[in-house]
């Protein structure tokens, strides 16, 4: 299922291409964007299916609720803009008009997390997964690479209900082998088996966590690595089985440590199998401008920084 090639590719392009592919097969797919179609890559769909593409201009609230209306007549709207504006600006529309009646709207939010980079804190959504996760009926997915993104978007076409899919701005290394990878919405993926500590991650930090596992191994630590693209509904069993074995859990995400993957794991563990947990992400603070790799390093999300934090957590430094 994993690939060794680790080539860096654009998840957003993969999204755009997948939409076009689905659009050719399914006439009910419609796409909405809020003046960011070249960034989110929905422009690919717009070019091929102009009659099924709606550029709503810079009005995210209008976009979300227009998608609601389209879904009521059987369309499958894919709605895209940056994570900050999708989840932030239009939260009430998403809660009341999409999730409460459980309409079939797919929100694919790009530019999630600190790696938005130079644009700085105003554009770095570090809370989006927390506020999306809090809404009943919402499925929240954070794919890690291109192969998985394509699979998740194809799943979204089939699944009937609201989804928030968060993808990164950056080019991310391939992790999964395109030929063999299958997305299972009910099951987290054990990427590496280990005994000393459980690492849980998703999105673009998966590649970093894989590097972290290797560094830990060089230091004699056997880490189990779980990739959990579906933050909600969460696969408790995989977490609990692993925690029962390793007794120590570290969560790693490109998001605030408040409210998203780290919190979800703590909820599962504290109620069923209390164990020490270290949550790694951004702390209760805003981001800042910087180059993508610099920011990953500054906020401690590179493989190397992760390994240092895990070692410290295990009392091995």
């Amino acid at each position: 299922m994993l690939t060794d090639k680790r080539e860096r590719k654009s998840i957003r392009s993969e999204y755009g291409k997948t939409l076009v592919e689905l659009g050719r097969k399914n006439k009910n797919i419609v796409v909405l964007d809020a003046d960011l179609s070249c960034s989110t890559q929905t422009a690919m769909f717009a070019k091929e299916f102009p009659e099924r593409f709606f550029n709503m201009g810079i009005s995210e609230q209008d976009m979300m609720t227009t998608a609601v209306g389209l879904s009521t007549v059987g369309k499958i709207p894919f709605v895209s803009t940056f994570s900050m504006f999708a989840a932030g600006r239009a939260w009430d529309q998403i809660r009341n008009s999409i999730c409460y009646p459980k309409f079939n709207v797919k929100i694919v939010a790009t530019h999630g997390g600190i790696t938005v980079g130079e644009d700085g804190a105003s554009h770095q959504a570090l809370e989006d997964l927390a506020i999306m996760r809090a809404i009943p009926n919402m499925m929240v997915v954070v794919p890690a690479d291109c192969a998985e993104t394509a699979e998740v978007i194809k799943f979204a076409e089939q699944y009937n209900g609201p989804m928030y899919i968060r993808i990164a701005r950056t080019n991310v290394p391939d992790v999964f082998d395109r030929e063999t990878y299958k997305f299972n919405p009910n099951k987290a993926l054990i990427v590496n088996n280990g005994n000393d500590v459980t690492l849980v991650t998703n999105g673009e930090t998966l590649a970093e966590a894989i590097d972290c596992v290797e560094l830990l191994k060089q230091n004699g630590i056997s880490a189990e690595l779980i990739h959990m693209p579906v933050v909600k509904p969460i696969d408790s069993k995989t977490i609990l089985d692993s925690a029962a074995k390793t007794k120590k859990v570290v969560t790693i995400e490109n998001h605030s440590i408040i409210g998203a993957l780290g919190s979800a794991i703590c909820e599962v563990l504290s109620e069923n199998c209390p164990n020490p947990v270290l949550r790694i992400g951004t702390n209760d603070e805003f981001g800042q401008s910087g180059e993508q790799r610099e920011l990953m390093d500054f906020y401690g999300l590179t493989g190397e920084k992760l390994a240092q934090k895990v070692m410290k957590f295990l009392g091995k430094n």
Binding site: V30, E51, R52, F54, M56, G57, S59, Q61, D62, M63, M64, T65, T66, A67, V68, G69, L70, S71, T72, V73, G74, K75, P77, D92, Q93, R95, N96, S97, Y100, P101, K102, F103
Partner: protein, 277 residues
């Protein structure tokens, strides 16, 4: 045909009287609700459901259901009036109205699409219905379904910025299958709309945004019917600005912002029903 005959007008007036009573009974029974903004909506909703809309109380059981006209109640707090109209049109038993706002009811405080057939979308948080209606209108056009989409808004609701996004949306997409109605009762919770955040001149604003705008008396069935029928043939999105009286039909509730969101006590309820009889 853009005129109602005397018989139709009488029918709407009688029906409206029944709806007003139902609304008061529901709110009194629930000990909560929004009398003012429900009573201002009665003639318009009644005329729509009795004379203007193609709709099917049996819902999906009707093979023509996909071709129905849609109504989006953007001012979701007028739910009591809508439920009463629907019940009296045969969507569900009139007796069920007494479950309004009670635990386990299909008649949620604000309309919920998942609870009740005939409720197209869920509303209640103001400012969202117009854009939803634009989406419905766009979808119907994609499918070449020749149905109309009605969206019912309050005037206070027009202070929400998202409504103006929707106004631009409708004009930009040339949604000639969209008819918006503004229940302009001039009051919101804290007082007069134009004192709190002025909307006037509303018709000029809509026109400047590329809409057609008609202004009518929102309690006059003939005017309501004529405006809606005219709007159906427009080549632009149309807003019908309906001048209404908040609390209409109950003397002590009329034009009183304080009756926006409270239930009458027993004495008030009995007095109100007597006035309507």
């Amino acid at each position: 045909m853009t005129e109602l005959n005397e018989k139709d007008i009488k029918e709407i007036k009688e029906f409206s009287k029944k709806i007003r009573k139902n609304v008061l009974e529901m709110i009194f029974n629930a000990k909560s609700g929004h009398p003012g903004g429900n009573l201002s909506a009665v003639e318009i909703l009644s005329t729509l459901y009795l004379k203007c809309m193609k709709h099917y109380p049996e819902c999906e059981k009707n093979p023509d259901y996909n071709n129905r006209d849609r109504l989006i109640l953007s001012k979701g707090h007028a739910s009591a009036a809508l439920y009463a109209v629907m019940a009296n049109c045969g969507y569900f038993p009139v007796g069920e109205l007494m479950t309004f706002r009670k635990l386990g009811t299909r008649l949620q405080g604000h309309p919920s699409a998942k609870h009740l057939c005939g409720i197209e979308v869920s509303t209640g948080s103001l400012g969202q219905g117009l854009s939803i209606a634009c989406g419905v209108a766009l979808g119907l056009k994609l499918d070449k379904i020749n149905s109309k989409v009605f969206v019912y808004m309050g005037d206070g609701e027009l202070q929400e910025g998202s409504i103006w996004e929707g106004i631009m949306n409708a004009a930009h997409h040339k949604l000639d299958n969209l008819i918006a109605i503004v229940d302009k009762n001039n009051l919101q919770i804290d007082g007069c709309v134009d004192d709190i955040k002025c909307l006037s001149p509303l018709d000029e604003k809509f026109k400047a945004f590329g809409w057609e705008a008609y202004t009518i008396d929102g309690h006059n069935p003939q005017e309501i019917y004529s405006a809606i029928e005219k709007a159906k043939n427009s080549t632009k999105p149309v807003v019908v600005i309906a001048n209404t009286v908040k609390g209409k039909g109950v003397s002590f509730m009329e034009n009183q912002a304080s009756w926006h969101g409270k239930a009458p006590n027993k004495e008030e309820f009995e007095k109100a029903i007597k006035e309507l009889s």
